[in-house]
């Protein structure tokens, strides 16, 4: 399995104190649709901007498709980017934007781009500033895909879109993946969307990577355990408690484990992606809560 993006101890600091991304070490596999999820300010935009060369790292390294992210045309031609809020030149028409792409990118598939725009039903002579959010997002996606990149990075492209526009955007994206096998890294808050489209997940919270792995594997190795309230818990050795909550009668745990749990004292449930993501997103607060509740986990 080849790797699309590798980071090693990657960090980015703004000013003197604010670390937007800290000690990030990842291996993003190619040929996947990677969901990048986390709360606002977690570092998703920073990570994507670093990957496309819009920012430079403060610490650590990042390698994209085997090369350093930079503004070298060869590197940029292989990476497509859709920025947050899909910026476009509001006074230029849709056709102008396609012309822009054709002029500035070798390997530009003008025929595909024109066909794609026609499919969206947008009038090519319309100024980009007059397009709806969904139409602008489609334009931005077309611009990013028409140069036939190997890697496509999208920073919350559907955040402000209505459900129909969102669905259409993802349809276009998935068709491109089916057709070209492009590796996609897509950041989003909307876990439902990620569940449909991504097969690899990265959870960022407070500038750190909390979780990374194939979605299937993550869902298979996490379980929710529900049982009577207990303060000290005995679980198999490789079991790690991610989150715990208690009422006076009931204890609910989210655990990560490679072996099945047969303890009859617990109700063992599968967990869905949203709950998994939420549990990892709240990691620092989880640790705090566990400490306060006095839960001790014995190996």
């Amino acid at each position: 399995m080849s790797v699309a993006v590798t980071t090693d101890g990657l960090g980015k600091r703004y000013g003197r104190r604010r670390w937007a991304l800290s000690d990030c070490s990842l291996e993003v596999p190619s040929g996947h649709v990677v969901g990048l999820v986390g709360p606002n300010g977690a570092g998703k935009t920073t990570l994507l901007n670093l990957a496309v060369g819009l920012l430079s790292a403060t610490t650590g390294t990042i390698s994209v498709l085997g090369g350093n992210p930079s503004d070298r045309p060869e590197q940029l031609a292989r990476v497509g980017f859709v920025a947050q809020d899909t910026p476009t030149y509001s006074h230029l028409s849709v056709a102008d934007h396609l012309h822009l792409g054709a002029r500035l990118n070798p390997g530009w598939d003008a025929h595909w781009a024109a066909k794609r725009i026609a499919e969206t039903g947008v009038d090519p002579t319309q100024k980009a500033g007059q397009l709806s959010g969904g139409q602008r997002a489609q334009l931005a996606l077309t611009l990013a895909l028409a140069k036939r990149p190997e890697l496509l990075l999208l920073d919350e492209p559907v955040a402000g879109l209505d459900p129909l526009a969102r669905r259409e955007f993802l349809q276009t994206l998935m068709i491109a993946v089916a057709d070209d096998g492009v590796t996609v890294v897509l950041s989003s808050h909307l876990v439902a969307d990620l569940e449909r489209v991504s097969d690899y997940l990265i959870v960022l919270a407070a500038a750190h990577v909390e979780l990374a792995g194939e979605v299937e594997h993550l869902l298979a190795t996490h379980r929710r355990l529900v049982g009577p309230r207990r303060d000290s818990v005995s679980l198999p050795g490789d079991c790690r408690v991610i989150d715990a909550s208690h009422t006076d009668r009931q204890t609910t745990l989210l655990v990560r484990t490679d072996t099945p749990i047969h303890d009859p004292a617990w109700i063992v449930e599968d967990i869905d992606l949203e709950d998994l993501v939420l549990a990892y997103m709240g990691q620092t607060s989880n640790v705090e809560r566990n400490r306060r509740s006095g839960l001790r986990v014995q190996p």
Binding site: L55, P73, L76, A83, P87, R103, K147
Partner: protein, 359 residues
């Protein structure tokens, strides 16, 4: 990239060139008439009558248009810097379109260099055409009005406006890149541009070439007797009407002795007691009016002045420091080249700065 740079500039360029065209039409219509009036009333005037009235009347022709042009020429370079320079990068940073531009397959250097080159070309062309039109139209007026070498007019004619415009543009582009927001960048550009222009015209332009010196004997028709700014009355240097001084840029005119010491009011008073006594002064022509003599001194005053001048002319003479008219174009070229070179340097700084990632 050239296409994109032009396409981004196009709406503004079209509007500005449209305005230029409108102005050009106004100038094309009134220009020949201006020449006609000059040829019929001013050129032949020494032989047909009182020149001063003809000249005054001519100087007031198309007064409104003249004032408009003065304002336009003073303001145009700065405006180009503000509206084409400052937003060049700042606007893209503000609106986020840089995220689109910098992820196409071009280097950032090529992106900025092309934008700078295309817009600079348009700026230079606009400034050049504007200055050409205004200089052509103003030519008859400049013959009777302020000397074009004079500091108040020098920057509004010829090729210097091109240099200023390019410089203002480059300042705007660099400040836009550093400040990252259009409006503050515009304000900073205006301040920087005005400051540099002032410093240059006051402190640097006079030193671009060593001025010539000319010596003249004291003459009653040239040197007057007056006081300036409440100082004690003294003999004044006046403006010798020598051919070499036609349309020259005069730095200074002083009355000095062979050793270079200035003529003091006390020396004048002791040599010319009649003048020093009050009363006669009012009867002498206003200082500096030689060449266009309006008032004629009374006989008594005139004789006193003549005696004074004759007496002093043994030891004193008028010395002028000036640039002759034939250096006008040299100065134009030097100043334009310096401002253009500054523009290129600033553009280089901008390109260098861009290499460092924006965070």
């Amino acid at each position: 990239m050239t296409w994109l740079a032009w396409r981004q500039l196009r709406p503004s360029a079209v509007a500005t060139f449209g305005a230029l065209l409108a102005l050009a039409v106004a100038l094309a219509v009134t220009g020949p008439q201006l020449v006609h009036v000059y040829d019929t009333t001013v050129k032949p005037c020494p032989s047909i009558g009182d020149c001063s009235d003809a000249i005054t009347a001519f100087g007031n022709k198309y007064n409104v248009l003249q004032q408009l042009l003065t304002i336009v020429m003073q303001v145009a370079p700065a405006l180009l810097g503000l509206f084409w320079g400052a937003p060049l990068v700042a606007r893209e940073l503000e609106t986020g379109t840089y995220k689109l531009a910098w992820t196409q397959s071009v280097t950032r250097t090529r992106w900025l260099a092309t934008k700078l080159a295309v817009t600079a070309l348009a700026t230079g062309a606009l400034a050049g055409l504007l200055s050409l039109a205004v200089t052509w139209w103003s030519a008859p007026l400049d013959k009777v009005g302020t000397n074009r070498f004079d500091g108040s007019v020098f920057g509004e004619r010829g090729i210097t406006p091109i240099g200023y415009a390019l410089f203002a543009f480059a300042v705007g582009a660099l400040l836009g890149l550093l400040i990252r927001r259009t409006l503050p960048a515009m304000a900073a550009t205006l301040v920087a541009f005005i400051a540099v222009r002032l410093v240059f015209s006051q402190l640097i332009r006079p030193h671009l070439m060593t001025p010539l010196r000319a010596t003249f004997t004291l003459l009653a028709t040239v040197n007057g007797y007056a006081s300036f700014n409440g100082s004690t009355s003294n003999l004044t240097a006046g403006s010798p009407s020598d051919a070499s001084l036609q349309n020259a840029w005069i730095y200074s005119a002083r009355i000095v002795d062979a050793a270079g010491r200035a003529l003091t009011p006390q020396a004048t008073a002791s040599a010319c007691p009649q003048l020093a006594n009050g009363g006669l002064r009012a009867q002498l022509p206003p200082a500096g009016s030689a060449g266009h003599v309006h008032a004629v001194p009374t006989q008594a005053a005139g004789q006193a002045l003549q005696q004074c001048v004759t007496k002093l002319s043994d030891s004193y003479h008028t010395i002028l420091s000036y640039q002759p008219a034939n250096r006008y174009w040299t100065f134009q070229a030097l100043e334009t080249a310096i401002f253009a070179a500054l523009a290129i340097c600033l553009a280089g700084v901008a390109l260098w700065n861009l290499r460092k990632h924006l965070s």
